[in-house]
């Protein structure tokens, strides 16, 4: 099975990673590997994870996102999830997953603006 590629580019000091509509497990695993690889190579402030094409977010995908955000955090960056679809947001809530310490934005553009804003303390939330 050919899985669609993950797109990883550096934009305005952040890493922009875009996920395909229904990534299989190996593609999801690649999200983590490629993010960490790119972060070690480039000087970036954080990660914007573009989920606007994603149609399904199961527990494995969610856990991988949470872990990736945690690793990015340990390396001093923050993660912003952009463009989650209503159907995915609702299902994720009903499934009961957590996406870890991440912020969210409606669009990639908003996320990039948010990432570019002056560092402000993120209130600790469960």
């Amino acid at each position: 099975m050919v899985s669609e590629p993950i797109s990883v580019i550096k934009v305005r000091n952040v890493l922009l990673v875009s996920m395909p509509a229904d990534p299989d497990d190996s593609t999801v695993a690649a999200l983590q590997d490629r993010t960490l690889d790119a972060m070690s190579k480039h000087d970036v402030r954080g990660l914007v994870l573009d989920l606007s094409k994603v149609e399904i977010l199961d527990s494995y995908f969610a856990r991988t996102v949470a872990e990736t955000a945690q690793m990015v955090g340990l390396m001093g960056g923050e993660t912003i999830i952009a463009g989650m679809r209503p159907s995915v947001a609702i299902t994720a809530t009903e499934l009961g997953v957590t996406l870890g310490k991440t912020r969210t934005a409606m669009t990639v553009e908003n996320a990039l603006d948010l990432a570019g804003q002056a560092e402000r303390k993120v209130k600790a939330r469960r």
């Binding site: 990534p23 299989d24 497990d25 149609e55 199961d58 527990s59 159907s87 299902t91 499934l95 009961g96």
Partner: protein, 136 residues
């Protein structure tokens, strides 16, 4: 891909979980479920398919288009010859985790679908059946 009102997907590798998802999305779409309903059904299928792969190594997902005179629906059945579930009620309790932090398979799928039945025997295997009906 399967045409008609029933079909099956063998779950033998991790990649098959995605195959199962695609099959379920196709059928759910043909039956006429809405976008959010499809997301629920496919996610439930992913969780249950993942359980099969994780606990039993391999198994099969069978699907069935349903109609009860007033509504149409979809039934998914996940069968494996794995270790079985010792305490089904325990496994269904929200937040139950058995290693790996991915323990939301059963409670999650139950939440996302309308009906769920579990038949399991330790040492023999497990069959999880879920159904969803289109909202009238």
């Amino acid at each position: 891909m399967n045409e008609g009102s029933q079909g099956e997907v063998k779950i033998q590798t991790e990649a098959d979980i995605a195959v199962a998802r695609r099959a379920v999305r196709d059928v759910a779409s043909k039956i006429g479920f809405g976008v959010t309903e499809i997301a629920r059904i496919v996610t439930a299928a992913s969780e249950l398919g993942r359980n099969v792969h994780k606990y039993a190594g391999s198994g099969v997902m069978r699907w069935n288009a349903l109609s009860n005179g007033t509504s149409s629906g979809l039934e998914l059945r996940f069968e494996d010859q794995g270790p079985g579930i010792a305490d089904v009620n325990e496994a269904l309790r929200e937040g139950h985790t058995t290693g790996g932090g991915l323990g939301m398979g059963l409670p999650g799928a139950k939440r996302l679908m309308d009906e769920m039945e579990i038949a399991s025997e330790v040492g023999k295997g497990t069959t999880v059946t879920v159904r969803k009906w289109r909202r009238r």
